[in-house]
């Protein structure tokens, strides 16, 4: 049998007003906050502008630093937007691309382009893995991850202890009403927290 959802209204005036008032306050604060355009994780924005740090006299190789590491790059300085070959391969995480910004026909800037997916980066951050391929900024979360692990152990132990029904040390069906059973809590379940009174201590 299915029933149509019915709204339950009425008697909710005060909480409703509180909730709406809070919402209005929050909305005013959020609209008033000087938020600009989001940076996002696109290729276009993940590009870090890296200026060549050194250049060989012939102008066909130099070094560039990205993500805290310095790479030697070799490139053909006369061709615009030509791909750069990277001497010590930084891996798939970062690509370098040269661009001529001054318009003198010489490439003067190398862009480091992130090639790592967001999901991959989440993995690096979560396990605090030092990797050249880590391209998105963020804090590392190894400790938090491990604490979560313990939380799950604690939560599951707690949930199982609570949800399991047992009588006289023996596990019976996991669910059901206590009162529908023949022998509710024996002395093992009797507790002293309320002075041992049967009614839960409402005296």
């Amino acid at each position: 049998m299915t029933t149509r959802p019915e709204l339950r209204l009425g008697g909710h005036l005060a909480p409703g007003i509180i909730a709406v008032a809070l919402f209005v306050i929050m909305a005013v604060v959020f609209v008033g906050a000087p938020l600009g355009d989001p940076v996002g994780f696109d290729d276009a924005t993940a590009i870090q502008n890296e200026t060549l740090q050194s250049e060989s006299p012939t102008g066909d190789y130099g070094s560039v630093s990205a993500n805290g590491q310095t790479y030697a790059v070799a490139y053909n300085g006369s061709e615009e937007t030509a791909n750069v070959s990277v001497a010590n391969d930084p891996g798939v995480g970062v690509d370098f691309r040269e661009v001529d910004t001054t318009g003198d026909g010489q490439s003067d800037t190398v862009y480091a382009i992130s090639r790592t997916s967001i999901t991959e980066n989440i993995g690096y951050l979560m396990f605090a893995v030092d990797s050249d391929q880590r391209s998105a900024p963020g804090e590392t979360f190894l400790v938090a991850f491990e604490i979560i692990d313990m939380v799950l152990v604690g939560a599951l132990v707690g949930a199982v202890v609570l949800a399991r029904r047992d009588e006289g040390g023996e596990v019976v069906a996991a669910l059901g009403l206590r009162d529908s059973d023949e022998s509710p809590g024996t002395s093992a379940g009797q507790v002293a927290a309320d002075g041992g009174t049967e009614d839960g201590g409402d005296n």
């Binding site: 400790v143 938090a144 979560i148 799950l152 604690g154 939560a155 002293a192 927290a193």
Partner: protein, 560 residues
């Protein structure tokens, strides 16, 4: 040599590992699961060995590996299903106590050999400094007393191993809260402390009071953790980071509204953990309904852990102190003002409500709310004291240290008081003041201990509570908040009324005729040991107070 900074977390490791070990040991005795337990234990140890032998494998570093083995241990512990009944009660209780005492010893040793240089094990998310070690000492000593007392208290119950494991896991969470240096770590450590606590409060499944207390504790806790999470998200939105120092550096004044709202919500989350207004109303319910050792655990250790978060988050992230520039800026909302209001309301409400109670455990619960109000003063009085920034900083260090010391002393005297209630519940004494009449003649040693706790909680001179209250109130006056200290002193005077009411009931009152005469035949060893230990420490606080308060002042100086 491999990086060994992670060893500074030894107290938390010890507590957590003991918690998991207890689950293993409980399983080993069973015919079907024993072999699995032994195998998985060995497997985890092997991984831990690899972790130490190959520190740099896979780029994870020793920290990563030590944690991987920890994870495996946890996962295997889950695989061994939880089951009722325990093979060896004594072994499990002993192991838990050994773990807690070990953690206490390590933490104390670290505290007294601490060189003043904070260590960041595992990056910036954690910090081990004087304050975190001091609070590790508090949490570990409360845990130790609670595990010892529980040996008798839950003697008749199923799920012994699970009980101790939950206590130890919650203790781990509280210890980690003391070290948390990032809002992420704060949040997850807070949950690690909370989730096992919910289960522990409702541990007496057949007892309506306990279940109801568990429900209410859980509901308020879930609500406040949601509010806290939302607050953290707003702080992140205003600053772009969660690490406390980074948050402070990133506060620009651009997102004042968002940051202020976030700060207020974070205050809400902390108020829950410390049982302060506005999230205080769970406290009397939960403390009254919970098994008494758990009440002791929550009202002492959990409260201390909540406060350590408050101290660290608010001084590191939302306060800009620069001695050279003469700056002392409160960032975000004016949280000092918020804490002033909360402190006054909390202590007044707690103490007035405690006066009207006729059940002893509930009276203690409300008095615990009142004490949260006293400690809140140490945040409320931060901005006062002197015209120059230097003077303000020094005054601030004193109030912070006063708050820490009060929590330290409170950890013993309040735990002891609740464990005395545990003793009374063990004897089936009853719950009201009248039920306690004449207990002084029947159980003089325990009653003397309880008298010590009561007078110490009230802040009477010969005991530890006097010293910490003196330090805290004096520092508040020193910060220029005479009115705040006056309110606190009036409250202390009120509290003397209901504390002495219990003492009077114990020793002087005639037992009403309608009450059945007390018959106390047993002397439970564990409960007695814990109560007497707490009483001895509370009385002998004069010897300990000096060095510990020096450590507290140093710890506070590191914060400001």
């Amino acid at each position: 040599m491999a990086d060994t900074t992670w060893l500074t977390l030894a107290p938390a490791f010890l507590l957590g590992l003991t918690g998991l070990l207890v689950l293993y040991v409980d399983s080993i005795g069973r015919s079907t699961k024993g072999p699995i337990a032994v195998l998985s234990l060995l497997g985890s140890l092997a991984v831990a060995g690899v972790a130490i032998a190959l520190p740099d494998a896979l780029g994870l570093g020793p920290a990563g590996w030590s944690f991987v083995s920890f994870t495996l241990l946890g996962m295997f512990a889950l695989a061994l299903f939880v089951q009722p009944g325990s093979q060896n009660r004594r072994l499990i209780a002993g192991l838990s106590t050994a773990g807690a005492v070990g953690a206490l010893g390590v933490a104390a040793a670290f505290l007294f050999t601490f060189d003043g240089e904070p260590v960041n094990p595992f990056g910036d998310a954690l910090v081990v400094d004087g304050m975190s070690l001091l609070f590790a000492v508090i949490v570990a000593s409360v845990t130790a007393m609670v595990t010892v007392a529980s040996y008798n208290y839950i003697a008749e119950h199923s799920y012994q191993a699970e009980y101790y494991a939950l206590v130890l896991l919650a203790g781990t969470g509280m210890t980690l809260m003391a070290s948390a240096n990032s809002l992420v770590t704060v949040f997850v450590a807070l949950e690690l402390a909370s989730l096992p606590s919910y289960a522990l409060v409702a541990f007496l499944k057949e007892n309506k009071g306990s279940v109801e207390a568990g429900l209410k504790y859980f509901l308020v806790g879930a609500l406040s953790s949601a509010v806290f999470a939302y607050g953290v998200s707003l702080v992140y939105g205003a600053t772009g980071s969660l690490q406390l120092t980074a948050v402070q550096n990133a506060i620009t004044g651009e997102f004042t509204g968002m940051l202020g709202m976030g700060v207020v919500m974070v205050v809400g989350g902390i108020a829950f953990k410390t049982a302060s207004v506005p999230f205080h109303f769970w406290a009397p319910e939960a403390y009254e309904g919970a098994p008494a050792p758990i009440s002791a655990f929550l009202s002492s250790a959990s409260k201390a852990a909540g406060f350590v978060i408050a101290f660290r988050v608010f001084t590191e992230a939302f306060l800009q102190v620069s001695e050279s520039a003469g700056e002392f800026l409160v960032l975000g909302a004016d949280w000092v003002l918020v804490f002033q209001i909360l402190a006054v309301v909390t202590m007044t409400l707690g103490n007035l409500a405690a006066v009207t109670q006729d059940k002893v455990k509930r009276m203690l619960a409300y008095s615990s709310v009142g004490h949260a109000g006293y400690v809140l003063m140490s945040l409320a009085a931060l901005s006062g004291g002197g015209a120059t920034a230097t003077a303000k900083i020094e005054a601030g260090q004193f109030v912070l240290a006063g708050g820490m010391m009060h929590l330290f002393v409170y950890g013993f005297m309040n735990t002891g008081a609740f464990l005395f209630i545990a003793l009374a519940e063990y004897w089936d004494v009853g719950r009201t003041f009248e039920d306690f009449t004449g207990l002084g003649r029947q159980a003089p040693v325990a009653s003397v201990a309880m008298t010590v706790f009561m007078f110490s909680l009230a802040g009477l001179p010969p005991f530890g509570g006097f010293l910490s209250k003196y330090l805290l109130f004096g520092a508040t006056v020193n910060s220029g908040f005479v009115w705040l200290a006056a309110v606190a002193i009036v409250n202390s005077a009120v509290s003397l009324y209901y504390y002495s009411k219990l003492v009077k009931a114990l020793w002087f009152d005639e037992r009403p005729d309608d009450k059945k005469p007390l018959e106390i035949s047993s002397r439970p060893v564990g409960l007695y040991a814990a109560v007497i230990f707490a009483a001895v420490v509370t009385t002998a606080m004069y010897g300990v107070f000096g060095p510990v308060s020096d450590a507290a002042i140093e710890a506070a100086a590191a914060l400001l």
